[in-house]
């Protein structure tokens, strides 16, 4: 297809959609400086958001209520966390779970006794509760038992936990759902449209996760102190920084990606625009050295990333193997004006997809002054609309131009129609079934866009033969079942990055790529697949701490430089000598 150029973006042309929207490529994206966790932390630092403890009523086991106050220049919010006892047998990451170690939410405004009582009765129930309309985010999380036990024991003994524990699983808690936008009675996202604090998609959800991270540090220190008041020490700063929050997620992310094509369009356009801007810059020696340093850090980070998944392990290893070549290339090549373009062209010829997208991500990292404002374009008011007066022949042309990838699929082949997507009666959990083998295909979710477009194209071509001057609305009155897909095609025709170019029915389709696409925009690291459709990741590992942001840092570039975090070295030794200096 034709290259798409954003008129507001000086630089190279944006990549064509058939490249940028290829599912395997999307499934290779790492988090970038445009990711939601990064942009939230930058906003917090820049606007000097202040987080303070408003209540911390936990017993010796760490159970009870904690409330954190967040003051921004525009408003006040409260993170309210309920910590509960949970039997190990009940600890499940799936949406069908009914109890968790912690349940929590973020309230807009103040929390009085009446509201707290209402929340205490409903937040722990999660989906089964009726949540308050001032609740912006509703979430829950489970403990990493191994890390939790190790941390409490080590701190109680006056020692520091082994950093290698956090390299294996970089969190004390992992969330299993982070709900926003009106779920179960909480505030609609549209309510935040005029709120400068949380206008960007998922920024309130990311704040909730960030506050949980802070709580996890304070809670584990509290338990260690309660169990060993004479010997307990606080967690070392390097380990606090290295502590993130996990997330465990499954197929639930896939419907979102398909059902919000205009939002996906914005996200990918921002990333592609940032890349085009970076590629259009003339490199200097300082930036070359910075890129080499970032590449080294990313290489070490990936080498330290632990996963039991053989395929992801191989992908990580392939990137780690490839990056020394990248460094050598960067060190050897003359500093020509189009060096970045040469680098990307060379990487496309020689490196695996994950390494290519890693290099793109690092190039974006070099130009914060040019790309950071793009995060304000991540949101959009979504609405798919018909153009009923469009000549039908024009619609046919649009399909053949923009959905050639869908028309190219042969849906008569069994492998091209292998899977069907559906929701289970168990908490509406999205699942995949094999067509013709498992029951439920008649209740299939219409997530596979390619076969729908393919079918509509056939029907409208026949209609057009009999009615060559027909309008779209005339076709739809005769064939109303195609309204939904026609509306989608018409709306997305001018937006190249709305459709993920894959047949989601195909036997070889990898759901993991869909999950990773969304998670990379969140800012996830440490991808650790548990199956081809279930993954654990880590958010905010390496991020600045609450106390660092509260101190109103002056060097905003330094505070923002936390991508690809590395395992701290020498912590145990230094902290045995200097425990207690961190709080």
């Amino acid at each position: 297809m034709a290259e798409y150029r954003d008129a507001t973006a000086p630089g190279m042309p944006l990549r064509a959609a058939d490249e940028a929207m290829d599912l395997e490529r999307l499934g290779s994206l790492p988090a970038s400086r445009l990711s939601f966790v990064r942009s939230l932390v930058r906003q917090m630092a820049r606007q000097r958001w202040q987080v303070s403890r408003a209540r911390f009523a936990l017993d010796a086991q760490g159970h009870g209520i904690a409330i954190y106050r967040l003051q921004t220049p525009h408003g006040r919010y409260h993170g309210v966390i309920f910590s509960h006892h949970l039997d190990d047998a009940q600890r499940s990451d799936r949406v069908i779970a009914q109890a968790w170690d912690v349940t929590f939410g973020v309230i807009e405004g103040d929390v009085d006794d009446v509201l707290l009582e209402q929340m205490a009765a409903n937040v722990p129930l999660q989906e089964a509760g009726r949540q308050h309309p001032r609740l912006l985010v509703l979430s829950r999380a489970n403990r990493s038992l191994r890390n939790f036990t190790h941390f409490v024991t080590a701190l109680g003994a006056g020692d520091q936990p082994d950093p290698a524990q956090l390299t294996r699983a970089g969190y004390l808690y992992r969330t299993t759902a982070v709900y926003g936008n009106g779920k179960f009675g909480i505030a609609d996202f549209v309510r935040l449209q005029d709120n400068p604090d949380f206008q960007r998609p998922f920024s309130a959800q990311m704040l909730a996760v960030y506050l949980l991270r802070h709580f996890s540090i304070e809670q584990v220190e509290h338990i260690a102190r309660a169990q060993a008041p004479d010997t307990a020490v606080p967690l070392a700063t390097e380990l606090r920084r290295y502590l993130g929050i996990g997330n465990s997620t499954g197929l639930g992310m896939a419907p979102f990606l398909i059902n919000h094509p205009q939002l996906i369009q914005q996200w990918v356009t921002c990333r592609e625009t940032a890349l085009a801007m970076a590629l259009g810059q003339t490199p200097d020696e300082a930036r070359r050295q910075r890129l080499i340093a970032l590449t080294r850090r990313a290489m070490r980070h990936l080498a330290q990333t632990v996963t039991e998944d053989a395929e992801q392990g191989e992908r990580n290893a392939a990137v780690v193997m490839a990056l020394p070549e990248v460094i050598a290339w960067l060190e050897e090549m003359p500093l020509e004006d189009d060096l970045w373009q040469q680098l990307v062209a060379w990487s496309a010829r020689t490196l695996p997809l994950e390494a290519q997208e890693l290099i793109n991500t690092l190039l974006i990292e070099l130009y914060p002054e040019r790309v950071d404002s793009l995060v304000d374009q991540m949101g959009i008011e979504e609405r798919l609309e018909l153009t009923p007066d469009m000549p039908l022949v024009r619609l046919k042309q649009l399909i053949e131009t923009h959905y050639d990838w869908a028309l190219a699929e042969d849906f008569a082949l069994p492998e091209a129609r292998h899977w069907f997507w559906y929701r289970s009666t168990e908490k509406e959990e999205p699942r995949l079934g094999v067509r013709g083998v498992e029951p439920g295909a008649e209740k299939e979710l219409p997530l596979a866009i390619a076969p729908r477009v393919h079918h509509t194209h056939g029907v409208l071509s026949d209609f057009l033969e009999a009615n060559p001057r027909a309008l779209v609305v005339e076709f739809l009155i005769a064939h109303p079942r195609h309204k939904d897909i026609v509306r989608r095609i018409q709306t997305l025709a001018d937006t190249p990055y709305g459709e993920i170019r894959a047949n989601l029915w195909h036997r070889d389709m990898k759901p993991m790529h869909l999950l990773r696409t969304k998670l990379s925009f969140f800012g996830a690291g440490r991808f650790d697949p548990k199956s081809d459709r279930w993954v654990r990741i880590t958010l905010f590992q390496g991020a600045p701490l609450v106390e660092e942001l509260n101190a109103e840092p002056r060097d905003l570039a330094a505070i923002d430089d936390w991508s690809f975090p590395l395992e701290p070295e020498g912590v145990m030794h230094s902290q045995r000598q200097g425990a207690g200096e961190t709080s």
Partner: protein, 255 residues
């Protein structure tokens, strides 16, 4: 009880799919109900009144165009709810008005006509001035006029009883729509015949309702809510051990 806008819209969409609506119709119908409820215009109550009829509607009996030319169209809704029968008729009017500057559409034999307002809001959002008119069958007859200004999100609504109606035999189950590219069609009451204004909703009142709904949640009737939830379960697939594996999660989550 209170619900959010997104939640209400989502539940309605699932319930309509459960009732056999096509995906696009279900999304449109859900938008229409949620839009009315958000403006405190009784969308759920209107749906509830028509729900039993809706469940009996034959989904394969499609609205049909009885007559059309460049400026006019008459559509037979076959006695179905406007939730099923109106959107493409409205799109037909939109296409004609875009081509000719003004169009008149009449949808005959339809019920739940109040609910059409939500889709008119969408057409207005796409730059069309729209007015809808319909008459209810009680004595004395009442008439309702709803007008949207192009690119406006909120209508002007008037409901009034008319007393001097000549005898005629046409049933009051139609809705008439006028769309104009460039001319305001908002209702303004002016008549030589006697009428009693029963209700009047101005833009500012309705905007206040919307603001309240978003800030405090939308009041919904629990019985209707439960009924919709039940209907929504029809789109779900019964769970089994095999289907649990289809989610791809492990059996042991402790680490």
């Amino acid at each position: 009880m209170k619900a959010s806008y997104n939640e209400l819209q989502g539940l309605c969409r699932k319930a309509f799919i459960g009732m056999g609506f096509e995906e696009g119709d279900a999304a449109d119908a859900a938008d229409m109900v949620a839009w009315m409820q958000c403006f405190e215009l009784g969308g759920l109550a209107a749906l509830s009144r028509g729900l039993d009829f809706l469940l009996e509607d034959d989904p394969d009996e499609l609205p049909s165009v009885l007559y059309q030319d460049g400026d006019l169209a008459v559509v037979d809704g076959h006695g179905q709810s406007v939730l099923r029968s109106s959107t493409l008729a409205l799109e037909l009017g939109f296409a004609k008005a875009r081509a000719r500057g003004l169009a008149v559409i009449k949808i005959r034999h339809c019920h739940n006509r109040q609910l059409i307002m939500g889709y008119l809001a969408r057409l207005a959002g796409r730059g069309m001035n729209v007015t809808a008119f319909w008459r209810n069958a009680q004595q004395p007859p009442t008439e309702q006029v709803v007008g949207f200004r192009a690119n406006g999100s909120v209508p002007e609504i008037r409901v009034y009883a008319v007393h001097e109606v000549p005898e005629e035999n046409e049933p009051n189950d139609a809705v008439t729509l006028v769309m104009a590219n460039h001319v305001d069609l908002l209702p303004a009451m002016r008549s030589d015949y006697r009428y009693d204004l029963l209700a009047r909703h101005d833009e500012s009142d309705l905007l206040a309702c919307r603001h309240r709904s978003l800030a405090e949640g939308i009041e919904v009737d629990e019985a209707v809510w439960e009924r919709l939830k039940h209907l929504a379960t029809r789109m779900l697939v019964e769970a089994s051990e095999a289907s649990r594996e289809g989610a791809g999660a492990g059996t042991q989550d402790n680490d």
